[in-house]
């Protein structure tokens, strides 16, 4: 069982998350695809940490999960605030900055 198997899974999930962020219109699904990308990175970190011994990768993963939680909370609060004004969660409708 080489490390390449884990890195391959990580890359595939990262790409799927990336495509999800770029392709969907619903902002909730965009945020969830972002979580997929963060998880792929976590898998990568844990695999390398297992390869080289030591616990640095795990500590980094804890921080990534912490930041993901903070970002999810604030992102969802922003979504709620935008929904109150625009009555829509389609990102094509959130175009106030368009020139």
């Amino acid at each position: 069982m080489e490390i390449y198997n884990f890195l391959a899974v990580s890359t595939i999930v990262f790409t799927i998350g990336l495509i999800g962020v770029l392709v969907r219109r619903n902002i909730m699904i965009i945020l969830m695809s972002l979580e997929l990308m963060l998880n792929a990175v976590n898998l990568n970190l844990v695999a390398f940490s297992r390869l080289w011994g030591g616990v640095v990768g795990h500590v980094f993963v804890i921080f990534v999960i912490t930041v993901a939680a903070a970002e999810a909370a604030v992102g969802l609060a922003i979504v709620i605030a935008v929904y109150r004004h625009r009555e829509s969660i389609n990102i094509d409708d959130m175009n106030l900055l368009k020139w």
Partner: protein, 174 residues
């Protein structure tokens, strides 16, 4: 046995990730995300990262996805058909995503990383992964740990502020 578990978990992870980005209904998407996260936790158990499994399930599955489901339930949604759930530029986006995957695979294969993962390596900070993480977090990495605390406090305050209703005497006119 480990190979069998690894291949079945990986197949399930990729399948559920594809379902996350292609579900019509955001709640179904959230349920498939929960599945992906749980199977990822299974892969972490294979990699001997026990504490990360606990943190992932408690924070990600039991916290973040619940938060997503909360917000989706509070926002009224009409079921929209799949044709209009994709952006105008979705072919370009898919090609760009696949190009990124090819690039990353190329750089991975260029490195000299043909090592076996399941050889036993000794953890540097002590026996047992949880104890090692504890010593690392309160040892060399105590500064990022404290900053993470402040970050979480900021996130709480920010989320509460952003989702408050506008006050009566300053009702905004839309």
């Amino acid at each position: 046995m480990e190979t069998l578990i690894f291949w079945s978990l990986s197949g399930l992870i990729v399948l559920f990730a594809l379902l996350v980005i292609s579900a019509k209904n955001p709640v179904h998407s959230a349920i498939f995300l929960v599945g992906t996260l749980l199977f990822m936790a299974g892969l972490y158990i294979l990699l001997d990262a026990e504490f990360i499994v606990g943190v992932q399930v408690i924070v990600y599955v039991g916290g973040i996805t619940v938060l997503y489901l909360f917000v989706i339930s509070l926002i009224v949604l009409k079921r929209i058909p799949l044709e209009s759930t994709l952006n105008r530029q979705w072919p370009a986006a898919v090609i760009a995503g696949l190009a990124v995957m090819v690039e990353v695979a190329f750089f991975l294969l260029k490195g000299d990383l043909f090592f076996q993962v399941f050889e036993k390596k000794k953890m540097i900070y002590g026996t047992g992964e949880t104890a090692a993480i504890g010593r690392a977090l309160y040892g060399p990495y105590v500064f990022p740990f404290e900053i993470a605390t402040v970050l979480l406090l900021l996130a709480i305050i920010g989320a509460v502020l952003m989702s408050r209703k506008p006050e009566r005497d300053q009702t905004p006119e839309s």
